[in-house]
C-alpha cells in the first residue's frame, strides 16, 4: 500500500519535473538521460560513442538529452535515480559496472525505461535478472575483432605495403576485461587461420599514451607490422608507434582513421552510437524491446571501418566473405584470448 503511494508521489514528481524537462501530455516528447561510467565523456570509447548516439538522436529524432559523468562507482545509483526521477523517456547506463545499480533503480521505477550498454541487470545475488523496463545492449566484439583480423591476415599474407615480409600481428588491450578481450580473441582467431603469429600486451591503463607507445615499439621490434589497439586513450600511443615505425595500425570502437590516415588500416567498430540511437528511436516509436538486444555483424551492430587505400581488392572481398559467413552463423569467432 505504502509503495503505491510512493509511486504516485514519484509520478507526481515526474509530472512536475517534466514541466521543465520537455513537456508531458499531448506529444511523445522523449527526454533521454545518459549516465557515463568513471571513464568520463571523453574516454574515446564507450562513453564517447554512447553520447554520439544521443547527439544523433537529438538531431534526427528531436529528443532532448542530458548527461551526467560519474565520478566514482558509488555514484551510479544516485545518478541513474536522478534521471529516472525526471526523465519520461529513457535512461542509458553505460558500462558493465552499472548492472546492479541499474537493477536497483529500474525495480524502483518500473515506469521508467532503461538501457544498459554492455550489460544486463544483475540482482543482489549477482544473478542476471531481466526486467521488463530494461534493454540489455550486448555487442559481439569478437566478430569485429575477427573481421579486422582477416584484413590483417590478408595484408600479411599478401605482403602488402607496410605489412612487409613479416608474419606477425599484435594487439594491445587496456586491462584484461571481457569488452577488451573479446576483440582480441576474435582477432587472434582470424589470424591463426592465416598462420600468423600474434603478440598480445596490456598497457594497464586506458589513458597513458607513453606506455601504449612503448609497448607498440616493443611489439614492432619483435616483428609485428599490424598493431591492433584496444586501449582507449592509451591505444592512441600504440597507433603512434605504428606511425613512427611506418607500419599499420587498427583502431577500435569508433572509426579511428582520422587519428593517423597513412597508418590506420581499418577499425574494429562497436557501434554503440547506433545501438543507443536505435534504442531511443524504439522508445519514441513505442517499440522498446526489453531484455537482451544483440548488436552483432548480422544487424550491423559491429563491423569494420573505412579501409586504408593500400588494401587490395582481394583482401576486401575476403573480408566481405568472412562478414557474410559470420552473419550466416558459419563462423563463430572465439571470445577467449589465448595466452
Amino acid at each position: 500500500m505504502k509503495r503505491s503511494i510512493v509511486l504516485m508521489v514519484i509520478g507526481a514528481i515526474l509530472a512536475a519535473a517534466c514541466g521543465g524537462a520537455g513537456g508531458l501530455g499531448g506529444g511523445t516528447a522523449v527526454s533521454v538521460g545518459l549516465v557515463t561510467d568513471v571513464g568520463g565523456l571523453d574516454d574515446k570509447s564507450f562513453n564517447t560513442l554512447a553520447n554520439k548516439g544521443l547527439e544523433d538522436a537529438k538531431k534526427d529524432l528531436g529528443v532532448s538529452g542530458k548527461v551526467i559523468e560519474s565520478k566514482e562507482q558509488a555514484n551510479y545509483v544516485p545518478n541513474l535515480t536522478q534521471f529516472a526521477q525526471q526523465t519520461t523517456g529513457l535512461t542509458i547506463a553505460v558500462g558493465f559496472l552499472m548492472t546492479n545499480s541499474t537493477w536497483k533503480v529500474a525495480k524502483q521505477f518500473p515506469n521508467a525505461k532503461f538501457a544498459i550498454v554492455d550489460g544486463a541487470p544483475a540482482n543482489d545475488q549477482e544473478k542476471t535478472e531481466n526486467l521488463p523496463n530494461v534493454a540489455n545492449l550486448f555487442f559481439s566484439e569478437q566478430e569485429a575483432g575477427y573481421l579486422v583480423g582477416v584484413i590483417a591476415g590478408e595484408m600479411l599474407k599478401g605482403k602488402v605495403g607496410k605489412a612487409g615480409s613479416g608474419n606477425t600481428a599484435c594487439a594491445m588491450g587496456g586491462i584484461p576485461i571481457p569488452p577488451v578481450d573479446k576483440f582480441i580473441a576474435g582477432y587472434q582467431d582470424a589470424l591463426e587461420k592465416y598462420g600468423a603469429k600474434v603478440l598480445v600486451g596490456y598497457s594497464q591503463s586506458f589513458t597513458d599514451q607513453q606506455k601504449g607507445k612503448e609497448i607498440g615499439l616493443q611489439h614492432i621490434s619483435q616483428g609485428c607490422t599490424v598493431l591492433f589497439q584496444v586501449a582507449g586513450g592509451s591505444g592512441l600511443g600504440y597507433i603512434q608507434a605504428a606511425k613512427e615505425k611506418n607500419v599499420y595500425a587498427i583502431g577500435v570502437d569508433a572509426d579511428q582513421a582520422y587519428v593517423a590516415p597513412e597508418t590506420v588500416l581499418t577499425s574494429a567498430l562497436k557501434r554503440v552510437d547506433r545501438a543507443v540511437y536505435q534504442t531511443i528511436k524504439a522508445v519514441k516509436e513505442n517499440t522498446f524491446k526489453s531484455g537482451d538486444n544483440f548488436f552483432n555483424a548480422a544487424n550491423d551492430g559491429v563491423g569494420f571501418g573505412v579501409l586504408h587505400k593500400d588494401v587490395p581488392a582481394g583482401a576486401k572481398s575476403a573480408t566481405e566473405t568472412a562478414l557474410a559467413d559470420i552473419k550466416s552463423g558459419k563462423i563463430k569467432p572465439r571470445t577467449e584470448v589465448k595466452k
Partner: protein, 377 residues
C-alpha cells in the same frame, strides 16, 4: 575548540602547526570566505563555457539537499551524507596527524588497504553471522590501516624519513597492490559486472540501510554513518579529553618543549600514524560494507586527497570536519544535478574544489583582508 593559540616560540615549530596557528587567529570566517571566492572564480569558468552560473549553483544546492518534495529532499540529503562518510574518516586520519605536527598524505593508501582487508575477510568468511563477521571485517581493516600508517611513522621516528614522502609513495604502492589483487589476481572474482572486482562480502558484513525503503526509496544511508559519528566523537574525546590527546596537541605546538614529558617521542609518532591509518582503514571498510559490497578496482575517487582539503577546511576539529565533509558530499551529489540541469562540465566541479583547497591553504583571503602581506625586506 578553545585552545591556546600562541605560545613562546622557543624553537621553530612544525610548519603545519604554524599554519594551524594562523587559521585559528583568522577565525571560522576564513574557510567560508575562501569557499565564496572559489565559487566566484568557478562562476567565471562556468560562464566562459557558455553556461549560466546562477542556474548551475541553484542546481548544485537543490541537487544536494533540495527537491520538489520532502521525500526527494530527504533522498538527496541522504545521498549527500553517504558521500560525506568516507571523507569523515579520512579527514580524521589527516587531522589526528596534523594536530601532532605530522603530515599524513597517506590516507588514500590506508583507506585502500583497509577496504581490501574488509573485502577479503568479508568474502572469505562470508558465511559467518553478523555479530561475528562485522567486528572481524572492521577489525581487519583497522589493523591493516594501522599497520600501513605505522610504517611511515616508524620510518620517521627512527630514520627521520619525512612522512610526506613516505606516505605519498605508499599511496602508490597501495594502488598498484589493489590493481594486482583485483585484475586477474588473487582477489578477483567473476562477477556479473565483468569488471575487476573482488567477491561480494557475506551478508553478515553488510552495514544495513538506516532509512526504510518505503519512506525514502533507494536511500543508501547506511549504518556506517553511525560509525563515522562515533569516530568524530572518539576523535574529540581522544584529543580533548585524554592526557594522551593533550600531550599530542602540545607536541603539535612545540615539539621541543613537549619532548621531555609523556611517552617516548618515537613511540608517539608511530602511535599517531597508526591511529591515523587505522581510522582511514575503517573508512575504506565502511565504504565497501555500506555502499559497494565488494571491492571494485579503483573505487576511490581520491577520498584520501579530498580529506586533506576537508581537514584543513574543518580546521582539524570534529565539528569542522563534519561540516566540511558534508560540503564535499554536497559538491559530489549536487554536482551531478549541476551537470544534467545546467550542463556544466564535471571538470569544473573539481576545479572549484581545488580552488577551495588552494585558497584555504594559501589563506589568500585572510591575509589580504588582514593586510598580512609582508613586504620584502
Amino acid at each position: 575548540m578553545t585552545d591556546v593559540t600562541s605560545g613562546p616560540e622557543v624553537a621553530p615549530p612544525a610548519r603545519s602547526v604554524r599554519q594551524l596557528g594562523y587559521q585559528w587567529t583568522a577565525g571560522p570566517a576564513m574557510p567560508l570566505l575562501s569557499l565564496a571566492v572559489a565559487l566566484l572564480i568557478g562562476a567565471v569558468f562556468i560562464a566562459a563555457s557558455g553556461r549560466d552560473p546562477l542556474r548551475a549553483y541553484v542546481a548544485l544546492v537543490s541537487g544536494a539537499v533540495g527537491g520538489a518534495t520532502v521525500q526527494l529532499a530527504a533522498y538527496n540529503t541522504s545521498e549527500t551524507i553517504v558521500g560525506a562518510v568516507p571523507l569523515v574518516f579520512t579527514a580524521i586520519s589527516v587531522a589526528v596527524a596534523f594536530r601532532t605536527g605530522l603530515f599524513n598524505i597517506g590516507a588514500e593508501g590506508q583507506l585502500l588497504v583497509g577496504a581490501l582487508s574488509a573485502g577479503a575477510v568479508g568474502a572469505a568468511f562470508g558465511g559467518l553471522p553478523g555479530p561475528v563477521l562485522m567486528p572481524l571485517t572492521l577489525g581487519a581493516a583497522a589493523l591493516a590501516g594501522a599497520a600501513y600508517g605505522a610504517i611511515p611513522g616508524a620510518l620517521k621516528a627512527w630514520r627521520g624519513a619525512h612522512e610526506v614522502i613516505t606516505t605519498i609513495m605508499l599511496n602508490y604502492v597501495a594502488i598498484f597492490l589493489m590493481h594486482w589483487l583485483l585484475q586477474n589476481g588473487p582477489m578477483t572474482a567473476p562477477s556479473a559486472a565483468g569488471t575487476p572486482a573482488s567477491a561480494k562480502i557475506g551478508d553478515g558484513a553488510i552495514l544495513p540501510v538506516l532509512l526504510p525503503s518505503d519512506l525514502v526509496p533507494l536511500s543508501r544511508l547506511h549504518a556506517g554513518t553511525l560509525i563515522a559519528i562515533a569516530a568524530l566523537v572518539g576523535f574529540w574525546a581522544l584529543m580533548w579529553r585524554t592526557s594522551l590527546g593533550y600531550e599530542l596537541r602540545s607536541v603539535g605546538f612545540s615539539p621541543r618543549a613537549a619532548a621531555q614529558a609523556g611517552i617516548d617521542p618515537k613511540l608517539r609518532t608511530v602511535l599517531v600514524m597508526a591511529i591515523a591509518g587505522g581510522v582511514a582503514g575503517i573508512g575504506g571498510a565502511v565504504q565497501i560494507q555500506g555502499v559497494l559490497y565488494r571491492v571494485f578496482d579503483g573505487f576511490s575517487p581520491g577520498y584520501g586527497f579530498d580529506a586533506i582539503a576537508v581537514a584543513l577546511l574543518g580546521k582539524s576539529s570534529p565539528v569542522g570536519i563534519a561540516l566540511a565533509a558534508l560540503l564535499f558530499g554536497a559538491f559530489g551529489h549536487g554536482g551531478a544535478l549541476m551537470q544534467s540541469e545546467a550542463q556544466v562540465s564535471a571538470h569544473i566541479v573539481s576545479v572549484i574544489e581545488a580552488l577551495v583547497l588552494f585558497l584555504v591553504a594559501a589563506e589568500l583571503v585572510a591575509r589580504i583582508v588582514a593586510g598580512r602581506r609582508k613586504a620584502r625586506a
